[in-house]
Amino acid sequence: MAKFHVRKRIGKARRRASKVKDNVKGFGKRQIHRIPMPPYHHALLSLSLISALFAFIFFSRSPKLALIFLILMLAFDLLDYIITEKYFLHSNSRAIRDNMADRISEGILFIQFFNPWFFLFTINCILTLVGYIKRRNLSIPLKIFFVFYFVVFYVL
């Protein structure tokens, strides 16, 4: 009997937690739909890749300028995500496109920081392929972690 009550309480707590999670997610999505954005999105990923290339060029010359390009790269990615959410542009080929763009920009960024970032990039490539076969998103957002690493060890 006691076990039954405990299970019931756990079930209630889980349901409440998932409700809160859904509310937070829903709130985020509602805010995204309020942002005024044009439906033009084709150039955003290209701009993100080009920003990664410029960040790579400036890594050894001017870390602060490289950081600006890294932030630009993340901003273009975010804009692309917002437009996808706002205009319901989700599709399989779009997910593949985003994954490939992420892997290419990681590949460019991590050449200068081979150990350990390029090894992580290799693992991420494998995870992307395995994730597609298993129908799960297994890839790691390495770019975001890398920006924090770069700020802490090279800019500050």
Partner: protein, 151 residues
């Protein structure tokens, strides 16, 4: 993109970042075009005159020009890091990753081939004319900048 654009872009980037000279030119030339070698088979099996070069089918791209190839190459590079000269290795990887990037930006690709045949196109240069113009423009501009960098 044509092999010259790949070569000029890779050489220029490697020169800007690592300050390398002509001694790396043969290596950059080899690794700039090595990914495109799979087109040779396509040219021989589907030869239709000039159309073969202007309207290349996606089937001309093997799995080694997609994420599958990038994964294998990066795995080899990770092992080679402990064996090869680091500058040489980084130059080789620049050549390969930039090749992937230029192809992805400009043309039609199937990133997850052979697991998925979904086509991806960033829709920047939509018509053949625009693309031809951009190719000629980039070949000339990158060639001139590279030449000027040695002056």
């Amino acid at each position: 993109m044509n092999p010259l654009v790949h070569f000029f872009a890779n050489f220029l980037l490697a020169r800007i970042v690592f300050g390398i000279g002509w001694e790396y030119a043969p290596i950059i030339l080899i690794f700039s075009v090595i990914l495109d070698l799979d087109h040779i088979h396509y040219f021989f099996s589907n030869f239709k005159g000039l159309k073969t070069f202007t309207r290349m089918d996606l089937s001309s791209r093997s799995r080694f020009q997609e994420l599958y190839g990038l994964t294998i190459i990066s795995a080899f590079a990770s092992v080679a890091y402990f064996l090869l000269n680091h500058t040489l290795l980084k130059v080789i990887i620049i050549c390969i990753v930039l090749h992937f990037m230029i192809d992805f930006l400009v043309g039609h690709t199937r990133p997850l081939y052979p697991y998925s045949k979904d086509e991806v196109f960033l829709s920047i240069f939509r018509t053949l004319k625009t693309r031809a113009f951009i190719e000629i423009f980039l070949t000339m501009v990158l060639g001139v900048i590279l030449w000027l960098s040695f002056m």
